[in-house]
Symmetry: C2
Subunit: 193 residues, 2 copies
């Protein structure tokens, strides 16, 4: 194809930029406190290099997020139960949502940065469609459940990064407490007459 492999220094700089951005987002209170100049400086690189490597701010955050999400996506795509594809639906739905919740708890800074990036993010990020489709088809396997499409959207909305941040932060909810509440809510949704 028309693919050309990147130069060695370009690859090194790209990695350094990702690492620096990750570090800065993790260290700062709000994602807005991290400027593109900050990232470039922390990576020991010029701003031009940063923009050449990623295009714009949103793309940088997306790249970071995708890198961190990859292990989870692999576990879902080809891992063992209860996340992997062989799991019976009524068991997989809560497992998927719990996994997403834990991911957002573990990477709250990144998740917040991503959802606050574009105007109507996160719904224009391609991976949202993927997760929605996944959850939707899992819901379809639960007996006595109509309208899985909307339910999938609604359940994903319950683990949005800023809600999680609010509950875990301002409301002082602990990790396990939060997980239990989510599990209970999912149970309620799945329990049909």
């Amino acid at each position: 194809m028309t693919e050309r492999k990147p130069r060695k220094d370009a690859a090194r700089n790209r990695a350094a930029l990702l690492a620096a951005a990750d570090d800065l987002f993790a260290r700062c209170e709000s994602p807005d406190d991290v400027t593109m100049s900050d990232v470039a400086a922390a990576a020991g690189v010029g701003k031009g290099t940063l923009f050449r490597a990623f295009g714009d701010r949103t793309a940088l955050i997306r790249a970071l997020y995708a890198a961190r999400l990859e292990p989870l996506e692999r576990a879902v795509a080809e891992g063992p139960p209860p996340l992997g594809p062989g799991t019976p639906a009524p068991e997989r739905v809560p497992a998927l949502l719990d996994a997403v919740l834990c991911f957002k708890l573990d990477h709250r800074h990144l998740a917040l940065a991503l959802e606050g990036a574009g105007a109507d993010s996160p719904y224009q990020a391609e991976h949202y469609e993927r997760w929605h489709g996944l959850l939707r088809s899992a819901l379809a396997g639960v007996p006595g459940l109509a309208d899985g499409d909307f339910a999938a959207h609604a359940l994903l909305a319950a683990v949005r990064a800023d809600l999680v941040e609010y509950l875990a932060g301002a409301r002082g909810m602990g990790r396990d407490e939060l997980r239990a509440h989510l599990a209970e809510f999912v149970r309620q949704v799945l329990a049909g007459p």
Copy 2:
């Protein structure tokens, strides 16, 4: 108290600014397209006046939102069933959520502007607490339902402005279709064993 009533021109300008902002937000594709200078100019007023009247951008949007929300809040606080306080809980919960959904559909631009305003809005807007408390206590009146606190958060998340915008816009979901899906989802949540 230490309250002083505002000067006449100040009141007039404030009203003109609110009207201009409402108009601009309604007319523009994304809330970011509306700058503070735009609002001031459309109201025929200097930027200083705008900032003197509202403090900052977030406060302006909040003031606008509060003004538009007021009829709904009155209907909930003192109106007739199924929204008003005299309604039995299992009937009031879906009514409340449907009302919020319709409000966001009717004022999508404002709602989007508000939720995209601060860093972790909408959870630092005071009216969120009010709605959550309302929904929470309504849920408490539904038999066979534990953990109403988290459920209230989750249900409110299902009617977040950007999700509504995504479903109604990019996914082409019609108003009634959306309302029906939400009603069905709420029914699922309320149906306990």
